[in-house]
Symmetry: C2
Subunit: 126 residues, 2 copies
Amino acid sequence: MATKQFTGSSDEADLRRADSLAREIFSDVANKWALLIIEVLGERTLRFSELRNEVEGISHKMLTQNLRMLERNGLAERKVYPTVPPRVEYTLTEPGRALRAMVDLICDWTHQHFGHIEGARRRFDA
Amino acid sequence: MATKQFTGSSDEADLRRADSLAREIFSDVANKWALLIIEVLGERTLRFSELRNEVEGISHKMLTQNLRMLERNGLAERKVYPTVPPRVEYTLTEPGRALRAMVDLICDWTHQHFGHIEGARRRFDA
DNA sequence: CAGAATCCGCGTGGATACTG
DNA sequence: CAGTATCCACGCGGATTCTG
């Protein structure tokens, strides 16, 4: 990381802005529901109601809320078909898919270290 | 993996158990503070008070709470030195470090898609 | 210094009802 | 079917206090 010294103060300000934005994005994205949605959205396009079924245990409200957030950050795309009844489909954008690759890695990680974690828990809970 | 089910579908039951545990781990780990702690813990060993300083904005309570969680899941190790005043050090375990690699990736991702996200936000907020 | 415990406000998130 | 709005309980998480 290029850490410019006190020379150009505008660079410094930019870095601070970038940093704070980064933390913001991180807070948005580093939450259970968002990651689960991204995971099930996968490569496919899904409707609202399908997502609701796939993301086990999510409430109507949390789903819309997180979908808005993903849309706002350009991670998912919302496509409305003006039919009746309405049909709305969600797809991951390229950045969304890139992020999903990492969620996949975390899932893999979970399964790889399963035994370790289960053991650690048993030991700790005693 | 004991719990044999007399129906013969013990594998199925095991899978369900594994799945629910996986979701549990995921919920534990997929939260802002936990990931930030893992990130700053990095390869180094840090004391409680050092962590408190490094993890910008975390409260005393959240720090202990998350550290307990990490310890319970065997992602961080807690080492107490019986001196006075007490000295407690935290280190990532191997699974913890593996997870950290992914958090790093997410950080990279954040910076890579910075522009895209900022633009998407501006567009959305209009 | 590390952390357990208590108090408590505020926001998260669920349930429900209503619109297009 | 998708989405917004309202109500409200409960639990998160901050501040503070007290030990070893």
